[in-house]
């Protein structure tokens, strides 16, 4: 440690008076202006109108009016609901959570490998390979899985050929297919933030750990993992939120027993045109996600997430 070189610090100018001070004071507000306007117009207003629409009564024929109908929530999620929306919500959360765990298990070693085990000139090509699937439309990628997992597709034919599965075995229409599709589609969202977090770790920390007689395992658990926590959290935010609300994978890869809340919202809004119900379902989904992520952040901590976002 050197002492602070006081000659190199220029002291701040004395506080300004009058208009100059006002201008100085207003700069942060101007900086926040664009972002705030964005958030208000594209986030806050839609959010409030969604809440209000969920409290309306009426139908698409006669129109909807605001009647503060809070009962809609009890009606949709209570024990006497016509359609088991609570079940769909639980299913969506389970699928999302499972897919998120899978992307961590697959994505963390991959990001670790790219960050620490390859030469610098290979990092960009490898990261591009992770993202290359984004060049093909999301729908087409998912639909190709329908072909691959189909009853006469290559996967099942192969398993049949080896006599590993019985004649009734199928993959399409199962929860496994839906979760697999979700994890497949969202893997890059987990790999990239973890890679960014790992990349920032100074490799000398590992050397120091080894010098202090830490086993490789101890060094990983005590330094690498905590230092990449912010990357994992960002990845979870991106993957979990995206998966829980996704209707497409369940629609294409699922069957009648994999109906998710995302599908329900889409059907209720577009087909049945029950705008209040669709808004109420969206609100519940959002609140559920909010509570889960907030609890996660409190329990595991997010102290250095601001380094990333």
């Amino acid at each position: 440690m050197t002492t602070i070189d006081t000659t190199r610090i220029t002291l701040p100018p004395a506080p300004l008076k009058g208009r100059g001070r006002l201008r100085r004071m207003s700069v942060p507000y101007f900086l926040a202006l664009v972002g705030s306007a964005w958030m208000i117009i594209l986030f806050l207003i839609p959010l409030i109108s969604e809440l209000l629409v969920s409290l309306m009564t009426g139908n698409v024929e006669a129109g909807y009016h605001l009647s503060w109908n809070f009962g809609v929530y009890a009606q949709l999620f209570g024990p006497h609901a016509d359609v088991p929306y609570a079940l769909f919500l639980g299913r969506s959360l389970l699928y999302g959570a499972t897919a998120t765990v899978i992307t961590i298990i697959v994505g963390y070693p991959l990001a670790y490998f790219i960050a620490f085990r390859v030469k610098d000139r290979w990092k960009t090509p490898l990261l591009s390979l992770v993202m290359i699937s984004f060049l093909v439309s999301f729908i087409i990628r998912t639909d190709m899985w329908v072909f691959l997992l189909g009853a006469q597709g290559p996967v099942i034919s192969f398993l049949h050929g080896l006599h590993l599965v019985g004649p009734d075995f199928h993959l399409l229409g199962t929860s496994g297919a839906v979760i697999g599709g979700l994890a497949y589609n969202d893997l890059p969202f987990m790999v990239l933030p973890i890679y960014v977090a790992l990349e920032r770790i100074d490799p000398r920390i590992f050397e120091a750990g080894a010098d202090l007689y830490g086993s490789p395992r101890a060094v990983f658990v005590k330094t690498t993992l905590p230092l990449s926590r912010s990357g994992i959290f960002s990845g979870i935010l991106l993957v979990f939120i995206d998966c829980v609300g996704d209707p497409v994978n369940a629609q294409l890869l699922g069957g009648k027993a994999t109906y998710t809340l995302g599908q329900a919202i889409q059907d209720v809004y577009l087909t049945q045109q029950l705008y209040n119900v669709a808004a109420a379902l969206s609100t519940v989904l959002m609140v559920a996600l909010g509570i889960i992520l907030f609890a996660y952040a409190r329990i595991f901590g997010t102290d250095n997430i601001e380094d990333l976002v």
């Binding site: 926040a32 109108s49 309306m56 139908n59 359609v83 088991p84 009853a151 597709g153 027993a257």
Partner: protein
């Protein structure tokens, strides 16, 4: 490590004024509050589709048509792959029409689904504005009923449609959903019956009742569309759909609940691939899809008219009341109802032709016996006798009651 002097970011942080969290929230809160309040006021109601004074607005249609002049342009909105096209995408039927009438056609394949297209055009129609198309094609169902009930379709002047009167099949002259065919002329008809993969079922499937067979557990596909699903179930329990009562609807849902363990999935699309791939063995199916699967090298996929009967739907040409060139649209509508033009279109589209005379034209002039002799394109009288029209919703409440009965089957 050197001191703070070396780090410009830290220095800036130490010396410049920063917004505290409280101040930031106060600033955002002030503007946000105002914006939110205005949003609240704006969002307090969503206008409905019903027109209050539509019944009072009586239009003298003879007078209405008399004021319309030929414009030489026709904006035609249709579904994808629903007219004859050569390799370059040119349509002979439309070219012939332009030659005969001098009307240029802007043909657009913009309709993907009835509900989404209706959602797009209804605000414009309500505001009495042009939707940009003079002719649209809608399936008989809730959306078409709405268009008619709201007074958003021009009433056709049958006096100007001699070909329609002379050549249309009886089954399309008197539609249940549009008495007297006053607002619509059928473009194509299709059947909803059952399709099965013969290789997998090991024999024919001839009725809805057979779908309950435990050997089909997890191998049956049904449509997720409430109208298709509900009407098929009504047939399955032996009820004529057009005259079904709510007690009959209940019986139909009970039947569907019995069927549910066998259902693999409720499809809106993709059932054709599933049938070919063997993910399902038997499915509710549209006749045109099956014809195209067979033509595409899958002869093992068979279409049957179930013993209990099959549904028959119609895609209809209709003219929005705000059309800019209605007379040109009416001219095409009538021109389509000649054996030549209907034949040219049918030879490509392969659904069910509304003009029986086109069969002869396809057989002799176009020399395509496969299409002309296909019972899926020109059905026999016996097939037509086993075909039923859809239940017509009386009003919104009726439609909603139907949905609340059949929707829980799909969403389970």
């Amino acid at each position: 490590m050197s001191g703070a002097g070396g780090n410009p970011a830290l220095r800036r942080g130490l010396t410049q004024s920063r917004l505290s969290r409280r101040a930031l929230l106060r600033g955002v809160g002030a503007t946000g509050g105002a914006a939110a309040l205005s949003a609240l006021l704006a969002a307090c109601s969503i206008p409905g589709a019903a027109q209050s004074g539509s019944d009072a607005k009586q239009i003298d249609w003879t007078q209405w048509w008399a004021t319309k002049k030929k414009a030489g342009t026709l904006d035609f909105a249709n579904w994808p792959l629903y007219i004859d096209q050569d390799d370059k995408g040119n349509s002979q039927s439309l070219a012939d029409f332009t030659k005969a009438s001098g009307i240029r056609v802007n043909y657009k394949e913009v309709i993907q689904a009835n509900d989404s297209f209706y959602a797009k055009i209804s605000p414009l129609l309500k505001a009495e504005q042009s939707i940009g198309y003079d002719l649209i094609v809608m399936t008989n169902g809730w959306e078409l009923t709405e268009l008619i009930n709201n007074g958003w379709l021009a009433q056709l002047d049958h006096g100007r449609m001699p070909n329609f009167q002379a050549n249309a099949d009886r089954s399309v002259l008197f539609p249940a959903y549009d008495p007297g065919a006053l607002h619509t002329a059928v473009w194509q008809t299709g059947f909803t019956g059952i399709a099965y993969n013969e290789k997998l079922t090991g024999g024919p499937v001839e009725s809805f009742a057979e779908l309950l067979d435990p050997k089909f557990a997890g191998k049956v596909g049904m449509f997720s569309d409430n109208t298709e699903l509900g009407n098929a179930a009504l047939l399955a329990v032996g009820v004529e759909p057009t005259t079904a009562t709510r007690a009959d609807w209940k019986k139909a849902t009970a039947w569907l609940k019995k069927l549910q363990p066998n259902v693999a999935k409720f499809y809106d699309q993709g059932y054709t691939d599933a049938l070919q791939n063997g993910d399902i063995w038997v499915s509710q199916a549209w006749s045109g899809d099956v014809y195209q699967m067979q033509a595409g090298g899958h002869p093992e996929i068979k279409f049957v008219t179930p013993k209990e009967g099959q549904m028959m739907w119609h895609d209809n040409m209709c003219i929005p009341i705000t059309a800019e060139h209605p007379l040109d649209a009416l001219t095409w509508m009538d021109y389509y109802y000649t054996p030549e033009i209907a034949g040219i279109v049918e030879d490509y589209v392969n659904y069910v032709c509304p003009v029986p005379g086109a069969k002869e034209y396809i057989l002799t002039t176009l020399d395509d016996p496969d299409v002309a002799n296909s019972p899926l394109v020109f059905p026999t009288a016996d097939t037509l006798a086993h075909s039923h029209e859809f239940y017509v919703y009386k009003d919104y409440d009726d439609y909603q009651a139907w949905n609340s009965m059949f929707n829980p089957i799909v969403q389970s």
